[in-house]
Amino acid sequence: MSSSTQLTKYQSKVSSKRATAEPTWIRWTLIAIVLLFLGLFLFLPLAAVFTEALRKGYGAYLSALAEPDALSAIKLTFIAAGIALPLNLVFGIAAAWVITKFEFRGKSLLITLIDLPFAVSPVVAGLIYVLVFGLQGWLGGWLSDHDLKVIFAIPGIVLATTFVTFPFVARELIPLMQAQGKDEEEAALVLGASGWQILWKVTLPNVKWGLLYGFILTNARAMGEFGAVSVVSGHIRGMTNTLPLHVEILYNEYNYAAAFAVASVLALLALVTLALKSYIEWQATRAAAVVDY
């Protein structure tokens, strides 16, 4: 009796699988469309970057990267990302922490503000900093009196980079922390843990994968940012050029091989980021699978 019911269950499972599946030709057409799209807009450009970069051979490729202006652009990009990352990490954790663990007035306003850099065009973001810190700007007079340079200098680039990347960590953490609720924090509190102890021993370990993911996204955006940085940088070669800006200059000078060589560094960074992201997602789902039991 029971085995026959099991059999019927099994059969109904099989037939229901068939019942919910599309005919073969539809499936293949959909797959073909996706592949075509990906090929045209993703793989082809990626291949083009590397072919163009290596068109004049390895020697030209390496010398394009070893050129002082290119090296200074790479250095500046790492400096900007290196400052923006920790700042946004601290800000993102703090924002996600207050938004998910406490109730207060103006919470939805704060969430909207966090999304602002996503909504505002990067060029506008850059212009805002020029308006505030530029020579003709609100603080420009005071800054020049004290011999401080923000716009067309490294601080401006760091500011612009930080602005455009600040939502990533918070956006990644908020849904995760919301889903986890406050129970564990409350349990820790009742057991006598202080605020810092709760943050370090309970909250952060629980969101470590999300945090890492947000960190990587922030890094990718920080290194690739063009618009906002372009406005505040002033394009001074060897001084205030980041990698994306350097690519643009080379390209405008019809120095295609060098432009693509530098661009390939950015493309490689993107590929590494993607690989890391996939690895983290894989680890996180494995951890989640254990949690789900």
């Binding site: 129970d183 564990e184 409350e186 349990a187 820790a188 509190l189 009742v190 057991l191 006598g192 843990a193 202080s194 102890q197 021993k201 309970v202 370990p205 629980n206 254990v290 949690v291 789900d292 039991y293």
Partner: protein
């Protein structure tokens, strides 16, 4: 340690969670806060723990006011409905947490922590799970670990929020017996929240029945069950049949039935509700003038030690539920669809408030 709650009020926006609550929990007692969801029982528990603060009123531990003292200073153990175990720590580290977060001056040595944790894990009979992670445990095991973790800080009061609410029926039954035994061993003042009357009746020394932010009745399980103070308590604790009746000068009229009451002597033709437990209704085939009601059997459920019979009075919608022993059932040889007579024994009559 005794707990005393004085005139506590708590509102969330428009919603009154607690309405002037007064309650005393004597030292060493196991008290159940019982009520339907939304009655304020969890809010009260969280206020005792210090996880919420009351809008007005005060909390006293051993006579000392603790209303504004920090959660960390109250020295309470709290067990959450969904365990709230630290998911990235082993069972051992979970239980050790409360000891490890202490300031250096009062923190026990590693060896001492190890000894204490293993002692507690033995107490909850799960020593062999020390190296596992919470997600690898069953619900019942998780809840016992949560209890061990709460006890690790040697709390003066143990508070449990629906401790068995998320468990299946069998585990639930085992665990509540186990909790009772544990309490008898440790004698720690405990308050637990539940919406399950059976659980409260079985485990608690005393039951506090709550509804809509008010305390309806406080008493030993037997008192609360046998002498409910209000219609709500009657309906909430166990099955009960409700008969609409009129009360006139100490006599209740339920249909053709008249019952003399010790109370309500001054009532003048008022609407009232009469409550009778299913095992307090007698079924017979003969009618006695003024003592029986006529009803038709609609359903017989004859599985288990008791036979449950459902009846309906003519022209009335409410089902009447009767429980009788198997012997009695066999003696009467009742069948579905049959017209019989029922006699309610000791109905409790409450005047309707609307009048």
């Amino acid at each position: 340690m005794s707990i005393e709650i004085r005139n506590v009020n708590k509102t969330f926006g428009q919603f009154t969670a607690l309405n002037n609550i007064n309650l005393e929990v004597p030292d060493g007692e196991l008290v159940a806060l019982l009520g339907p969801s939304g009655c304020g029982k969890t809010s009260l528990l969280r206020i005792i723990a210090g996880l919420e603060s009351p809008d007005s009123g005060s909390i006293h531990f051993n006579g000392e006011e603790a209303t504004h003292s920090d959660v960390r200073d109250r020295n309470v153990g709290f067990v959450f409905q969904h365990y709230a175990l630290f998911r990235h720590m082993t069972v051992f580290e979970n239980v050790a947490f409360g000891l490890r977060v202490r300031p250096k001056s009062t923190r026990p040595s590693n060896a001492e922590i190890k000894r204490r944790v293993h002692e507690l894990l033995e107490l909850v009979q799960l020593d062999w799970l020390a190296d596992r992670y919470p997600p690898q445990l069953s619900g019942g095991q998780r809840q016992r670990i949560a209890l061990a973790r709460a006890l690790a800080v040697e709390p003066r009061v143990l508070l449990l929020d629906e401790p068995f609410g998320a468990l299946d029926a069998k585990v639930r039954k085992d665990l509540r017996r186990w909790l009772r035994r544990l309490h008898d061993e440790l004698h720690i003042t405990s308050v637990f929240v539940t919406h399950d009357q059976e659980e409260a009746l079985e485990v608690a020394d005393r039951i506090v029945v709550m509804n809509h932010g008010n305390v309806e009745q406080i008493g030993r399980p037997i008192d609360v069950y046998d002498n409910p103070a209000s219609p709500f308590v009657y309906q909430f604790l166990g099955n009960v049949n409700l008969f609409h009746s009129r009360v006139h000068q100490g006599t209740a009229h339920i249909g053709d039935l008249t019952v003399c009451l010790d109370e309500h002597k001054e009532a003048n033709n008022l609407n009232a509700s009469a409550f009778v437990r299913p095992h307090d209704i007698e079924i017979s085939r003969s009618s006695i003038e003024g003592k029986t009601l006529s009803a038709k059997i609609t359903y017989i459920h004859a599985i288990g030690s008791l036979v449950r019979v459902e009846l309906k009075q003519a022209l009335k919608d409410e089902l009447i539920e009767v429980e009788l022993s198997r012997e009695r059932f066999r003696e009467l040889a009742l069948v579905e669809g049959e017209q019989v007579f029922i006699t309610p024994r000791n109905p409790r009559v409450f005047l309707n408030k609307a009048d």
